[in-house]
Protein backbone atom coordinates (compact mmCIF):
# COMPACT_ATOMS: atom_id res chain seq x y z
CA UNK A 1 0.00 0.00 0.00
CA UNK A 2 2.76 2.43 0.99
CA UNK A 3 4.52 1.92 -2.34
CA UNK A 4 1.37 3.20 -4.05
CA UNK A 5 1.67 6.41 -2.06
CA UNK A 6 5.41 6.69 -2.78
CA UNK A 7 5.46 5.83 -6.47
CA UNK A 8 2.02 7.41 -6.94
CA UNK A 9 3.39 10.74 -5.64
CA UNK A 10 6.22 10.57 -8.16
CA UNK A 11 3.73 9.75 -10.94
CA UNK A 12 1.50 12.73 -10.06
CA UNK A 13 4.49 15.08 -10.11
CA UNK A 14 5.65 13.72 -13.47
CA UNK A 15 2.18 14.05 -14.99
CA UNK A 16 1.92 17.71 -13.88
CA UNK A 17 5.37 18.39 -15.33
CA UNK A 18 4.63 16.67 -18.62
CA UNK A 19 1.33 18.54 -19.03
CA UNK A 20 3.27 21.81 -18.67
CA UNK A 21 5.93 20.63 -21.13
CA UNK A 22 3.37 19.47 -23.68
CA UNK A 23 2.06 23.04 -23.80
CA UNK A 24 5.54 24.44 -24.51
CA UNK A 25 6.36 25.32 -28.11
CA UNK A 26 9.45 24.04 -29.90
CA UNK A 27 12.31 25.98 -31.49
CA UNK A 28 12.45 27.36 -35.02
CA UNK A 29 16.27 27.47 -35.27
CA UNK A 30 19.38 26.31 -33.42
CA UNK A 31 19.91 29.62 -31.64
CA UNK A 32 16.42 29.45 -30.16
CA UNK A 33 16.95 25.78 -29.28
CA UNK A 34 20.14 26.62 -27.37
CA UNK A 35 19.10 29.91 -25.73
CA UNK A 36 15.27 29.82 -25.61
CA UNK A 37 15.30 32.85 -27.86
CA UNK A 38 16.73 35.00 -25.01
CA UNK A 39 13.16 35.50 -23.89
CA UNK A 40 12.80 34.86 -20.15
CA UNK A 41 12.24 37.46 -17.46
CA UNK A 42 13.74 37.57 -13.96
CA UNK A 43 11.42 35.09 -12.19
CA UNK A 44 11.99 32.28 -14.68
CA UNK A 45 15.69 33.18 -14.96
CA UNK A 46 16.11 33.01 -11.17
CA UNK A 47 14.42 29.64 -10.84
CA UNK A 48 16.25 28.23 -13.89
CA UNK A 49 19.54 29.27 -12.30
CA UNK A 50 18.68 27.79 -8.89
CA UNK A 51 17.33 24.53 -10.34
CA UNK A 52 20.46 24.13 -12.46
CA UNK A 53 22.81 25.30 -9.71
CA UNK A 54 21.60 22.96 -6.96
CA UNK A 55 21.69 19.30 -8.01
CA UNK A 56 19.40 16.70 -6.44
CA UNK A 57 22.33 15.41 -4.45
CA UNK A 58 22.09 18.60 -2.37
CA UNK A 59 19.53 16.57 -0.35
CA UNK A 60 21.85 13.56 -0.28
CA UNK A 61 25.64 14.13 -0.37
CA UNK A 62 25.62 17.81 0.70
CA UNK A 63 23.12 17.25 3.51
CA UNK A 64 25.08 14.12 4.41
CA UNK A 65 28.26 16.17 4.74
CA UNK A 66 26.56 18.56 7.19
CA UNK A 67 25.16 15.56 9.11
CA UNK A 68 28.60 13.98 9.43
CA UNK A 69 30.92 17.00 9.66
CA UNK A 70 28.75 19.88 10.92
CA UNK A 71 29.15 23.58 10.11
CA UNK A 72 31.63 23.07 7.28
CA UNK A 73 28.69 21.57 5.37
CA UNK A 74 27.42 25.15 4.94
CA UNK A 75 30.23 25.78 2.46
CA UNK A 76 27.86 25.33 -0.47
CA UNK A 77 25.72 28.22 0.80
CA UNK A 78 28.84 30.41 0.95
CA UNK A 79 29.99 29.62 -2.58
CA UNK A 80 26.44 30.00 -3.87
CA UNK A 81 26.39 33.60 -2.59
CA UNK A 82 29.65 34.35 -4.37
CA UNK A 83 28.36 32.69 -7.53
CA UNK A 84 25.34 35.00 -7.49
CA UNK A 85 27.64 38.00 -6.99
CA UNK A 86 29.52 36.83 -10.09
CA UNK A 87 26.18 36.42 -11.89
CA UNK A 88 25.44 40.09 -11.23
CA UNK A 89 28.84 41.17 -12.56
CA UNK A 90 28.70 38.88 -15.61
CA UNK A 91 25.19 39.95 -16.58
CA UNK A 92 26.06 42.86 -18.84
CA UNK A 93 28.99 41.52 -20.89
CA UNK A 94 27.57 38.03 -21.30
CA UNK A 95 24.04 39.11 -22.21
CA UNK A 96 25.11 41.99 -24.46
CA UNK A 97 27.73 40.00 -26.37
CA UNK A 98 25.34 37.05 -26.53
CA UNK A 99 22.58 39.17 -28.04
CA UNK A 100 24.74 41.13 -30.45
CA UNK A 101 26.74 38.18 -31.76
CA UNK A 102 24.10 35.45 -31.45
CA UNK A 103 26.21 33.46 -28.97
CA UNK A 104 24.69 30.14 -27.96
CA UNK A 105 27.19 28.53 -25.56
CA UNK A 106 29.99 29.34 -23.14
CA UNK A 107 32.57 28.09 -25.66
CA UNK A 108 30.98 30.30 -28.32
CA UNK A 109 31.52 33.36 -26.10
CA UNK A 110 35.14 32.42 -25.44
CA UNK A 111 35.68 31.92 -29.18
CA UNK A 112 34.40 35.45 -29.79
CA UNK A 113 36.35 37.06 -26.95
CA UNK A 114 39.68 35.49 -27.89
CA UNK A 115 39.02 35.48 -31.65
CA UNK A 116 40.30 31.93 -31.72
CA UNK A 117 38.70 28.62 -32.66
CA UNK A 118 41.26 26.68 -30.61
CA UNK A 119 40.12 28.36 -27.36
CA UNK A 120 36.50 27.62 -28.27
CA UNK A 121 37.12 23.93 -28.94
CA UNK A 122 39.37 23.39 -25.88
CA UNK A 123 36.76 25.02 -23.63
CA UNK A 124 33.99 22.91 -25.19
CA UNK A 125 35.96 19.68 -24.79
CA UNK A 126 36.99 20.39 -21.17
CA UNK A 127 33.40 21.37 -20.33
CA UNK A 128 31.98 18.21 -21.88
CA UNK A 129 34.57 15.83 -20.37
CA UNK A 130 34.18 17.38 -16.91
CA UNK A 131 30.37 17.44 -16.99
CA UNK A 132 29.71 13.94 -18.30
CA UNK A 133 30.52 12.05 -15.03
CA UNK A 134 28.12 14.37 -13.22
CA UNK A 135 25.32 13.53 -15.65
CA UNK A 136 25.95 9.83 -15.01
CA UNK A 137 26.06 10.34 -11.23
CA UNK A 138 22.91 12.47 -11.43
CA UNK A 139 21.11 9.62 -13.15
CA UNK A 140 22.28 7.20 -10.47
CA UNK A 141 21.43 9.56 -7.60
CA UNK A 142 17.74 8.71 -7.69
CA UNK A 143 18.46 5.26 -6.25
CA UNK A 144 17.66 6.37 -2.71
CA UNK A 145 14.43 8.05 -3.88
CA UNK A 146 12.99 4.93 -5.49
CA UNK A 147 14.35 2.67 -2.75
CA UNK A 148 12.83 4.67 0.11
CA UNK A 149 9.56 5.37 -1.71
CA UNK A 150 9.06 1.65 -2.29
CA UNK A 151 9.04 1.18 1.50
CA UNK A 152 11.20 -1.93 1.31
CA UNK A 153 9.55 -3.47 -1.75
CA UNK A 154 12.18 -2.51 -4.34
CA UNK A 155 15.86 -3.32 -3.64
CA UNK A 156 18.60 -0.78 -4.41
CA UNK A 157 19.74 -2.72 -7.50
CA UNK A 158 16.31 -2.20 -9.10
CA UNK A 159 15.77 1.29 -7.71
CA UNK A 160 18.85 2.57 -9.52
CA UNK A 161 17.52 1.23 -12.83
CA UNK A 162 14.10 2.81 -12.24
CA UNK A 163 15.78 6.14 -11.49
CA UNK A 164 17.92 6.00 -14.64
CA UNK A 165 14.87 4.97 -16.69
CA UNK A 166 12.78 7.90 -15.41
CA UNK A 167 15.53 10.42 -16.11
CA UNK A 168 16.30 9.05 -19.59
CA UNK A 169 12.60 9.06 -20.51
CA UNK A 170 12.25 12.61 -19.14
CA UNK A 171 14.93 13.79 -21.57
CA UNK A 172 12.55 13.14 -24.50
CA UNK A 173 11.16 16.62 -23.74
CA UNK A 174 14.66 18.07 -23.30
CA UNK A 175 15.61 16.76 -26.74
CA UNK A 176 12.39 18.06 -28.31
CA UNK A 177 12.09 21.45 -26.65
CA UNK A 178 15.68 22.50 -25.91
CA UNK A 179 16.37 25.42 -23.57
CA UNK A 180 12.80 26.76 -23.57
CA UNK A 181 11.39 23.50 -22.24
CA UNK A 182 14.16 23.36 -19.65
CA UNK A 183 13.58 26.85 -18.29
CA UNK A 184 9.83 26.28 -18.02
CA UNK A 185 10.27 22.89 -16.35
CA UNK A 186 12.97 24.40 -14.10
CA UNK A 187 10.31 26.74 -12.76
CA UNK A 188 7.94 23.90 -11.86
CA UNK A 189 10.74 21.71 -10.52
CA UNK A 190 12.29 24.62 -8.62
CA UNK A 191 9.03 25.53 -6.91
CA UNK A 192 8.66 21.92 -5.75
CA UNK A 193 12.29 21.30 -4.77
CA UNK A 194 13.24 24.60 -3.16
CA UNK A 195 10.10 26.50 -2.17
CA UNK A 196 8.06 23.53 -1.12
CA UNK A 197 11.29 21.81 -0.01
CA UNK A 198 12.09 24.71 2.35
CA UNK A 199 8.64 24.46 3.95
CA UNK A 200 9.17 20.72 4.43
CA UNK A 201 12.65 21.29 5.87
CA UNK A 202 11.36 23.87 8.37
CA UNK A 203 8.56 21.51 9.41
CA UNK A 204 10.96 18.63 9.96
CA UNK A 205 13.42 20.90 11.77
CA UNK A 206 10.66 22.01 14.13
CA UNK A 207 9.84 18.36 14.84
CA UNK A 208 13.50 17.57 15.53
CA UNK A 209 13.98 20.54 17.88
CA UNK A 210 10.85 19.71 19.85
CA UNK A 211 11.52 15.97 20.08
CA UNK A 212 14.90 15.74 21.75
CA UNK A 213 17.13 16.42 18.75
CA UNK A 214 18.04 20.04 19.45
CA UNK A 215 21.40 21.63 18.75
CA UNK A 216 22.36 21.09 22.40
CA UNK A 217 22.53 17.36 21.67
CA UNK A 218 24.84 17.80 18.68
CA UNK A 219 28.56 17.18 19.15
CA UNK A 220 30.36 20.48 19.99
CA UNK A 221 32.95 19.77 17.26
CA UNK A 222 30.15 20.13 14.68
CA UNK A 223 30.07 23.89 15.26
CA UNK A 224 33.78 24.45 14.64
CA UNK A 225 35.33 25.31 11.29
CA UNK A 226 38.73 23.87 10.32
CA UNK A 227 41.65 26.17 11.11
CA UNK A 228 45.38 25.94 11.87
CA UNK A 229 46.12 22.58 13.48
CA UNK A 230 42.92 20.94 12.22
CA UNK A 231 42.94 17.59 10.42
CA UNK A 232 41.73 19.08 7.12
CA UNK A 233 44.18 21.96 7.16
CA UNK A 234 43.68 25.72 7.50
CA UNK A 235 43.07 26.31 3.79
CA UNK A 236 40.64 23.45 3.19
CA UNK A 237 37.44 25.46 3.71
CA UNK A 238 38.84 28.34 1.65
CA UNK A 239 39.55 25.86 -1.16
CA UNK A 240 36.04 24.38 -1.07
CA UNK A 241 34.40 27.80 -1.27
CA UNK A 242 36.81 29.14 -3.91
CA UNK A 243 36.37 26.07 -6.12
CA UNK A 244 32.58 26.29 -5.93
CA UNK A 245 32.42 30.04 -6.53
CA UNK A 246 34.91 30.17 -9.40
CA UNK A 247 34.00 26.79 -10.84
CA UNK A 248 30.27 27.52 -10.91
CA UNK A 249 30.37 29.73 -13.98
CA UNK A 250 32.74 27.32 -15.72
CA UNK A 251 30.02 24.66 -16.01
CA UNK A 252 28.46 24.99 -19.48
CA UNK A 253 24.93 24.37 -18.16
CA UNK A 254 25.13 27.15 -15.57
CA UNK A 255 26.71 29.65 -17.94
CA UNK A 256 24.18 29.12 -20.73
CA UNK A 257 21.38 30.17 -18.36
CA UNK A 258 22.63 33.74 -18.78
CA UNK A 259 21.80 33.52 -22.50
CA UNK A 260 18.16 32.57 -21.83
CA UNK A 261 17.31 35.88 -20.10
CA UNK A 262 15.71 38.70 -22.05
CA UNK A 263 17.91 41.53 -20.73
CA UNK A 264 20.84 42.46 -18.53
CA UNK A 265 18.38 43.84 -16.01
CA UNK A 266 16.51 40.51 -15.89
CA UNK A 267 19.73 38.66 -15.04
CA UNK A 268 20.54 41.15 -12.28
CA UNK A 269 17.01 40.93 -10.86
CA UNK A 270 17.26 37.14 -11.08
CA UNK A 271 20.45 37.30 -9.01
CA UNK A 272 18.67 39.39 -6.37
CA UNK A 273 15.77 36.90 -6.28
CA UNK A 274 17.97 33.79 -6.23
CA UNK A 275 20.10 34.87 -3.26
CA UNK A 276 17.48 34.68 -0.46
CA UNK A 277 16.19 31.41 -1.89
CA UNK A 278 19.67 29.89 -1.90
CA UNK A 279 20.53 31.21 1.56
CA UNK A 280 17.25 30.25 3.26
CA UNK A 281 16.94 26.86 1.57
CA UNK A 282 20.64 25.96 1.95
CA UNK A 283 20.96 27.11 5.55
CA UNK A 284 17.73 25.38 6.59
CA UNK A 285 18.87 22.12 5.00
CA UNK A 286 22.24 22.26 6.75
CA UNK A 287 20.62 23.05 10.11
CA UNK A 288 18.22 20.15 9.61
CA UNK A 289 21.08 17.79 8.77
CA UNK A 290 23.07 18.88 11.83
CA UNK A 291 20.09 18.52 14.18
CA UNK A 292 19.21 15.15 12.63
CA UNK A 293 22.75 13.87 13.20
CA UNK A 294 21.51 12.52 16.54
CA UNK A 295 18.66 10.53 14.93
CA UNK A 296 19.19 6.75 14.99
CA UNK A 297 20.82 5.51 11.79
CA UNK A 298 22.09 8.88 10.54
CA UNK A 299 25.64 8.45 11.89
CA UNK A 300 25.92 5.15 9.99
CA UNK A 301 24.44 6.49 6.74
CA UNK A 302 24.75 10.30 6.72
CA UNK A 303 23.85 10.49 3.00
CA UNK A 304 20.39 9.18 3.93
CA UNK A 305 19.76 11.91 6.52
CA UNK A 306 17.03 13.57 4.39
CA UNK A 307 15.08 10.34 4.00
CA UNK A 308 15.65 9.12 7.57
CA UNK A 309 14.38 12.44 8.92
CA UNK A 310 11.39 12.56 6.57
CA UNK A 311 10.50 8.99 7.60
CA UNK A 312 9.38 10.30 10.98
CA UNK A 313 6.44 11.98 9.23
CA UNK A 314 5.10 8.77 7.70
CA UNK A 315 4.63 7.69 4.05
CA UNK A 316 3.14 10.96 2.84
CA UNK A 317 5.94 13.18 4.17
CA UNK A 318 8.56 10.74 2.91
CA UNK A 319 6.92 10.80 -0.53
CA UNK A 320 7.02 14.60 -0.59
CA UNK A 321 10.69 14.48 0.43
CA UNK A 322 11.43 12.04 -2.40
CA UNK A 323 9.63 14.23 -4.94
CA UNK A 324 11.80 17.20 -3.85
CA UNK A 325 14.95 15.20 -4.65
CA UNK A 326 13.50 14.06 -7.97
CA UNK A 327 12.57 17.63 -8.96
CA UNK A 328 16.02 18.95 -8.09
CA UNK A 329 17.79 16.12 -9.92
CA UNK A 330 15.73 16.53 -13.07
CA UNK A 331 16.67 20.21 -13.35
CA UNK A 332 20.36 19.57 -13.07
CA UNK A 333 20.60 16.50 -15.31
CA UNK A 334 18.39 17.99 -18.03
CA UNK A 335 20.30 21.29 -18.03
CA UNK A 336 23.60 19.47 -18.28
CA UNK A 337 22.49 17.29 -21.19
CA UNK A 338 20.96 20.21 -23.09
CA UNK A 339 24.00 22.46 -22.59
CA UNK A 340 26.49 19.74 -23.51
CA UNK A 341 24.47 18.70 -26.57
CA UNK A 342 24.22 22.31 -27.75
CA UNK A 343 27.94 22.79 -27.12
CA UNK A 344 28.93 19.68 -29.07
CA UNK A 345 26.69 20.66 -31.99
CA UNK A 346 27.69 24.34 -31.99
CA UNK A 347 31.35 24.28 -31.01
CA UNK A 348 32.63 20.89 -32.12
CA UNK A 349 30.45 19.77 -35.07
CA UNK A 350 29.96 23.34 -36.29
CA UNK A 351 33.70 24.09 -36.11
CA UNK A 352 34.60 20.75 -37.76
CA UNK A 353 32.16 21.44 -40.61
CA UNK A 354 33.34 25.03 -40.90
CA UNK A 355 29.78 26.41 -40.74
CA UNK A 356 27.54 28.14 -38.23
CA UNK A 357 24.97 25.60 -37.06
CA UNK A 358 21.42 26.87 -37.74
CA UNK A 359 19.34 23.70 -37.84
CA UNK A 360 17.95 22.71 -34.40
CA UNK A 361 18.13 19.05 -35.46
CA UNK A 362 21.89 19.11 -34.78
CA UNK A 363 21.17 20.02 -31.19
CA UNK A 364 18.42 17.44 -30.85
CA UNK A 365 20.64 14.65 -32.20
CA UNK A 366 23.54 15.66 -29.93
CA UNK A 367 21.33 15.84 -26.80
CA UNK A 368 19.67 12.53 -27.73
CA UNK A 369 22.96 10.71 -28.28
CA UNK A 370 24.41 12.11 -25.04
CA UNK A 371 21.31 11.05 -23.11
CA UNK A 372 21.49 7.48 -24.39
CA UNK A 373 25.23 7.34 -23.79
CA UNK A 374 24.91 8.69 -20.24
CA UNK A 375 22.04 6.26 -19.56
CA UNK A 376 24.10 3.32 -20.83
CA UNK A 377 27.15 4.32 -18.76
CA UNK A 378 24.93 4.86 -15.71
CA UNK A 379 23.49 1.33 -16.05
CA UNK A 380 26.90 -0.21 -16.71
CA UNK A 381 28.51 1.44 -13.68
CA UNK A 382 25.79 0.88 -11.08
CA UNK A 383 27.74 -1.82 -9.26
CA UNK A 384 31.33 -2.32 -10.23
CA UNK A 385 32.47 1.14 -11.17
CA UNK A 386 30.35 3.43 -9.03
CA UNK A 387 33.20 4.39 -6.70
CA UNK A 388 35.39 4.97 -9.75
CA UNK A 389 32.70 7.23 -11.19
CA UNK A 390 32.61 9.27 -7.97
CA UNK A 391 36.40 9.65 -8.12
CA UNK A 392 36.14 10.69 -11.77
CA UNK A 393 33.50 13.25 -10.87
CA UNK A 394 35.77 14.68 -8.16
CA UNK A 395 38.63 14.93 -10.65
CA UNK A 396 36.31 16.65 -13.10
CA UNK A 397 35.28 19.30 -10.56
CA UNK A 398 38.93 20.19 -10.00
CA UNK A 399 39.33 20.16 -13.79
CA UNK A 400 36.37 22.37 -14.75
CA UNK A 401 37.49 25.15 -12.41
CA UNK A 402 40.56 25.47 -14.63
CA UNK A 403 38.39 27.35 -17.12
CA UNK A 404 37.98 30.15 -14.55
CA UNK A 405 40.93 32.40 -15.51
CA UNK A 406 40.03 32.08 -19.19
CA UNK A 407 36.36 32.87 -18.51
CA UNK A 408 36.66 35.62 -15.89
CA UNK A 409 39.86 37.34 -17.04
CA UNK A 410 38.63 37.07 -20.61
CA UNK A 411 35.38 38.84 -19.76
CA UNK A 412 36.78 41.46 -17.36
CA UNK A 413 40.35 42.07 -18.62
CA UNK A 414 41.22 43.31 -22.09
CA UNK A 415 44.85 42.20 -22.08
CA UNK A 416 44.18 38.43 -21.92
CA UNK A 417 44.73 36.71 -25.26
CA UNK A 418 44.26 33.37 -26.99
CA UNK A 419 47.80 32.10 -26.38
CA UNK A 420 47.46 32.82 -22.66
CA UNK A 421 44.02 31.18 -22.53
CA UNK A 422 45.13 27.97 -24.31
CA UNK A 423 48.32 27.64 -22.23
CA UNK A 424 46.49 28.34 -18.96
CA UNK A 425 43.59 25.95 -19.63
CA UNK A 426 45.75 23.05 -20.78
CA UNK A 427 48.41 23.44 -18.04
CA UNK A 428 45.81 24.07 -15.34
CA UNK A 429 43.70 21.07 -16.35
CA UNK A 430 46.74 18.74 -16.50
CA UNK A 431 48.08 20.01 -13.14
CA UNK A 432 44.68 19.57 -11.49
CA UNK A 433 44.28 16.00 -12.79
CA UNK A 434 47.75 14.95 -11.60
CA UNK A 435 47.39 16.61 -8.17
CA UNK A 436 43.89 15.17 -7.72
CA UNK A 437 45.18 11.65 -8.34
CA UNK A 438 48.03 12.19 -5.86
CA UNK A 439 45.94 14.06 -3.26
CA UNK A 440 42.25 13.12 -3.63
CA UNK A 441 41.08 15.20 -0.63
CA UNK A 442 43.63 17.94 0.07
CA UNK A 443 47.36 18.67 -0.17
CA UNK A 444 48.81 18.62 3.38
CA UNK A 445 51.98 20.57 2.52
CA UNK A 446 49.82 23.36 1.10
CA UNK A 447 47.76 23.73 4.28
CA UNK A 448 44.88 21.58 3.06
CA UNK A 449 44.50 23.33 -0.28
CA UNK A 450 42.66 21.17 -2.81
CA UNK A 451 44.19 20.11 -6.13
CA UNK A 452 41.91 22.39 -8.13
CA UNK A 453 42.86 25.53 -6.19
CA UNK A 454 46.59 24.69 -6.30
CA UNK A 455 46.34 24.15 -10.06
CA UNK A 456 44.34 27.35 -10.33
CA UNK A 457 47.29 29.30 -8.92
CA UNK A 458 49.50 27.82 -11.68
CA UNK A 459 46.78 28.46 -14.26
CA UNK A 460 46.30 32.10 -13.20
CA UNK A 461 50.06 32.78 -13.14
CA UNK A 462 50.47 31.28 -16.62
CA UNK A 463 47.55 33.31 -18.00
CA UNK A 464 48.86 36.62 -16.64
CA UNK A 465 52.51 35.91 -17.53
CA UNK A 466 51.74 34.86 -21.11
CA UNK A 467 49.38 37.83 -21.57
CA UNK A 468 52.23 40.21 -20.69
CA UNK A 469 55.11 38.31 -22.31
CA UNK A 470 53.32 37.52 -25.58
CA UNK A 471 50.87 40.38 -26.11
CA UNK A 472 48.34 40.43 -28.94
CA UNK A 473 49.07 42.20 -32.21
CA UNK A 474 47.69 45.68 -32.91
CA UNK A 475 44.75 44.37 -34.97
CA UNK A 476 43.70 41.95 -32.24
CA UNK A 477 44.06 44.64 -29.57
CA UNK A 478 41.83 46.95 -31.60
CA UNK A 479 39.25 44.18 -32.09
CA UNK A 480 39.17 43.40 -28.35
CA UNK A 481 38.92 47.10 -27.48
CA UNK A 482 35.97 47.43 -29.85
CA UNK A 483 34.37 44.38 -28.27
CA UNK A 484 34.64 45.83 -24.76
CA UNK A 485 33.64 49.31 -25.92
CA UNK A 486 30.57 47.84 -27.60
CA UNK A 487 29.19 47.29 -24.08
CA UNK A 488 28.91 51.04 -23.72
CA UNK A 489 27.85 51.94 -27.25
CA UNK A 490 24.68 51.12 -29.14
CA UNK A 491 26.27 50.42 -32.55
CA UNK A 492 26.90 46.91 -33.77
CA UNK A 493 30.41 45.70 -34.64
CA UNK A 494 31.26 42.76 -36.88
CA UNK A 495 32.20 39.36 -35.52
Amino acid sequence: MNILIGYGGVAVFLVVLLVVLQRTKGSADFSEYATAGRSFGPVFSAMAFVNTWLPGTIFIAFAGYAASAGAIGFYFVAYSILAVVFMFLLARPVHEWGRRFDLRTQADLLGLRYGCTKVRVIAAVIGTIASFPWVVLGMQSLTLVFEYLSFGTVPAAWAVLIGIGVLVARQWWTVRLGARGLVISDFVQGVVAYLFGTVLILGLLTWLLTNGHGFGEVEPAFFTLPGPGSVDGPLYLFSLIATGALGGWCWPDIFVRLFASNSTKSIKRAAVMATPLLVIFGSSLCLLAMAASTLPGVADAPDEVWFLTASVGGPLVLTLAGVCVLAATMGNVGANLQALGAQIANDVVGVARGTRVEDPRWGKVAVGVLTLLAGAVAVATTNVLSSGMVALAQVSYQGIVQLAPTVFLGIFWRRGNATAACAAMVLGFATACVLQLLYPIAIPVLGGMTSGVAALAVNFAVYVAVSYLKPSGEDEKRRVDELFDSLHTPERITR
Binding site: V85, L225, V279
Partner: protein, 69 residues
Protein backbone atom coordinates in the same frame (compact mmCIF):
# COMPACT_ATOMS: atom_id res chain seq x y z
CA UNK B 1 50.62 53.61 -34.77
CA UNK B 2 46.95 53.29 -33.89
CA UNK B 3 45.45 55.88 -31.54
CA UNK B 4 44.34 54.26 -28.27
CA UNK B 5 40.58 54.13 -27.87
CA UNK B 6 39.47 56.24 -24.86
CA UNK B 7 38.01 53.96 -22.18
CA UNK B 8 34.61 54.84 -20.74
CA UNK B 9 35.06 56.24 -17.22
CA UNK B 10 33.98 54.05 -14.31
CA UNK B 11 30.89 55.56 -12.75
CA UNK B 12 30.40 56.00 -9.01
CA UNK B 13 27.69 53.33 -9.11
CA UNK B 14 30.02 50.86 -10.82
CA UNK B 15 32.65 51.48 -8.13
CA UNK B 16 30.13 50.89 -5.34
CA UNK B 17 28.89 47.67 -6.95
CA UNK B 18 32.47 46.44 -7.34
CA UNK B 19 33.32 47.38 -3.75
CA UNK B 20 30.33 45.43 -2.40
CA UNK B 21 31.28 42.42 -4.53
CA UNK B 22 34.87 42.53 -3.23
CA UNK B 23 33.57 42.89 0.34
CA UNK B 24 31.58 39.64 -0.03
CA UNK B 25 34.59 37.82 -1.46
CA UNK B 26 36.76 39.01 1.42
CA UNK B 27 34.25 37.90 4.06
CA UNK B 28 33.87 34.42 2.61
CA UNK B 29 37.33 33.80 1.21
CA UNK B 30 39.67 35.35 3.78
CA UNK B 31 40.85 32.27 5.73
CA UNK B 32 41.82 34.01 9.01
CA UNK B 33 38.23 35.17 9.38
CA UNK B 34 36.95 31.58 9.42
CA UNK B 35 39.79 30.55 11.75
CA UNK B 36 38.88 33.07 14.43
CA UNK B 37 35.15 32.30 14.52
CA UNK B 38 35.96 29.12 16.49
CA UNK B 39 32.76 27.51 17.75
CA UNK B 40 30.64 30.01 15.84
CA UNK B 41 30.85 28.27 12.48
CA UNK B 42 27.10 28.14 11.98
CA UNK B 43 26.65 31.80 12.97
CA UNK B 44 29.43 32.78 10.57
CA UNK B 45 27.57 31.23 7.64
CA UNK B 46 24.15 32.52 8.73
CA UNK B 47 25.41 36.09 9.14
CA UNK B 48 27.42 36.01 5.91
CA UNK B 49 24.29 34.70 4.19
CA UNK B 50 22.25 37.69 5.40
CA UNK B 51 25.07 40.01 4.30
CA UNK B 52 25.02 38.33 0.88
CA UNK B 53 21.26 38.86 0.48
CA UNK B 54 21.50 42.53 1.54
CA UNK B 55 24.55 43.08 -0.67
CA UNK B 56 22.75 41.91 -3.81
CA UNK B 57 19.81 44.15 -2.97
CA UNK B 58 22.05 47.20 -2.54
CA UNK B 59 24.03 46.34 -5.70
CA UNK B 60 20.81 46.16 -7.67
CA UNK B 61 19.43 49.43 -6.28
CA UNK B 62 22.68 51.31 -6.89
CA UNK B 63 22.98 49.90 -10.41
CA UNK B 64 19.34 50.63 -11.26
CA UNK B 65 19.47 54.20 -9.95
CA UNK B 66 22.61 54.86 -12.02
CA UNK B 67 20.83 53.61 -15.15
CA UNK B 68 17.87 55.90 -14.44
CA UNK B 69 20.25 58.87 -14.18
Amino acid sequence: MATPVPRPPKTRAARIVLAIAVFNFVILLFPPLTWIVGQGGVWFFLISGVIGVLSLLVMYRVDASAEED
